[in-house]
């Protein structure tokens, strides 16, 4: 039902240090700390000078609050934020000041990566300047194609839109501009006939 095999679904790869970059901007959330620390260690071996020009923006959760100190011990500057929106605000102004030669490393849940990518796109960063590794929850941001509202933290195959209340089928069709998966009314042709609700994005 138009759910899988869709090319717009983003593909991620394990982070790797790109030593050709002159400045390294690392953004992480929660369990995203581990891949970032791994790439920092890699850089420490391959191009230690790069660490002075490495900046970390991080949203810790209960399990990763301690990682902030590990970042501080390793790189030039570290900023911790209480929430993703707070991080994104600082990220936007950082990109406004950044120069060509900057590389972006993003690690965290897909919804976090998507929101970061959305801003990076506005600054015309190409995919060869951005690396992203997905870790943590697969919960999706779902865009209702009927009322244009976005429902956050969706873990199920179908979901009720937070705004209009329609039952939406969560597709793999992804919009980088909206940083969300498309949600399409699931019972438009047979009102009330819903597939079984299943938790699929854990």
């Amino acid at each position: 039902m138009l759910v899988t095999g869709i090319k717009s679904k983003p593909v991620y790869a394990p982070l790797q240090a790109d030593t050709r970059g002159r400045c390294h901007l690392m953004l992480g959330m929660g369990v995203g700390a581990a891949p970032l620390l791994r790439v920092i260690a890699e850089m420490g071996t391959a191009a230690p000078k790069g660490l002075q020009n490495t900046h970390v923006l991080f949203v810790p959760d209960a399990g990763t609050a301690g990682e902030v100190e590990r970042f501080r011990a390793a790189v030039g500057s570290v900023q911790a934020f209480p929430s993703t929106p707070a991080l994104l605000g600082e990220f936007r102004s950082t990109l406004g000041r950044a120069l060509m030669g900057t590389r972006l490393y993003v690690a965290g849940p897909e919804s976090f990566i998507g929101l970061v990518m959305k801003i990076a796109l506005e600054f015309n960063l190409n995919k060869d300047e951005i690396r992203a590794e997905e870790c943590g929850t697969l919960a999706r941001r779902v865009y209702c194609i009927h009322c244009r509202a976005t429902t956050e933290n969706v873990r199920t195959n179908i979901v009720r839109c937070v705004e209009c209340g329609r039952w939406l089928l969560v597709r793999d069709h992804y919009s980088r501009r909206l940083a969300a998966y498309m949600g399409v009314m699931v019972d438009a042709e047979a009102p009330g006939e819903l597939p079984q609700l299943v938790e699929v994005f854990l």
């Binding site: 970059g21 002159r22 120069l99 060509m100 600054f123 015309n124």
Partner: protein, 320 residues
């Protein structure tokens, strides 16, 4: 592209703009409009000389919104194989030529946040049309234009009038150099750099940008190589079942065309990859002069760009 699709044009203006560069205006025979193009496009000009046919690529330098005429700038090349000399010595107002439809292999990135244009000498031509698109737009840009000396600065008045302080001039004769390193190290995120000029300048810009951490997707360049001369050799066209002699001063593509076999092409300068041809047999080595094949593909030797590349061999068999 092949000859069946050319447009007949008449030369309606010729001006010597520097000691080496002539500016030509071409209008369609019989009036009307020429095809729409975008800044950075080039055309192939077909020149039917007495002894041979020249087909050279030239950038369109006029405004893309003005289609009554096309404008090109032609530099007289010292080691010309004849094309630029033909344009300079034999073409005058009233001359008839044929041109191929415009093709753009050097377009501006549409979502760039800033454009840095770097021109060396005759390399200014594609930028003249691009500037028409950029002028008055919201995206910031700057042009760095390097010439031998003041008298070699083609189209300078047009640029000064329009671009003001966005134009940065450099004269070799006064020891002025484009400060590539400081220029490329200090550009805001989302900048694209474009370079057109001598091979040394292009390579220097590419290498400097890379060393400043620029990804290749933000580095754009165009250089049409004239087909270099070389040893004469024989080529056998497997599908056409004919043998063709390639003289030392004629390109492989030209020789194949002269034998009546059409090869698809767009740029004739080793850039676009359109004339990519499979090599079936070879008893020597290929002399790759194109900018299209990767070094690995060149080493493999299983394909060739006949527009600029040749072979050092007794026998070459191509899949044509």
């Amino acid at each position: 592209m092949n000859d069946a699709q050319t447009i007949a044009v008449e030369v309606v203006g010729v001006e010597q703009v520097t000691p080496l560069i002539k500016h030509f205006k071409l209008a369609p025979v019989g009036g009307g409009s020429l095809p729409v193009f975008s800044g950075g496009s080039h055309i192939i000009v077909v020149m039917r000389a007495a002894d041979r046919v020249h087909k050279n690529p030239y950038s369109l330098l006029g405004s893309p919104s003005q289609l009554e005429t096309y404008e090109i700038g032609v530099r007289r090349m010292e080691e010309s194989r004849g094309g630029s000399h033909y344009m300079h010595d034999r073409v005058a107002v009233g001359s008839r030529l044929e041109i191929a439809h415009p093709v753009n292999l050097f377009g501006l990135d549409k979502i760039a946040r800033k454009h840095v244009l770097i021109a060396g000498g005759i390399g200014i031509t594609p930028f003249l049309a691009q500037l028409e698109d950029l002028h008055g737009g919201a995206v910031p840009y700057e042009l760095h234009y390097s010439v031998r000396s003041a008298e070699h600065a083609a189209f300078l008045e047009r640029l000064r009038r329009r671009e003001g302080e966005r134009l940065h001039m450099y004269h070799d004769s006064e020891g002025q150099m484009i400060p590539f390193e400081t220029l490329l190290a200090a550009q805001p995120l989302g900048t694209h750099v474009y370079v057109c000029g001598p091979a040394g300048m292009i390579n220097h810009v590419i290498n400097t940008a890379r060393s400043c951490g620029w990804p290749d997707s933000h580095i754009h360049w165009e250089q049409f190589s004239a087909p270099p001369v070389g040893d004469a050799f024989e080529v056998f066209l497997a599908r056409s079942k004919i043998s063709v002699h390639v003289p030392h001063d004629q390109s492989l593509l030209e020789s194949i065309e002269a034998a009546g076999v059409e090869v698809p092409y767009l740029c004739r300068g080793g850039v676009c990859g359109f004339c990519h041809t499979r090599v079936l047999e070879l008893d020597g080595e290929l002399v790759h002069n194109d900018h299209f094949l990767s070094d690995a593909d060149k080493a493999k030797g299983s394909s060739i760009m006949p527009c600029v590349s040749r072979a050092h061999c007794k026998r070459l068999v191509l899949d044509l």
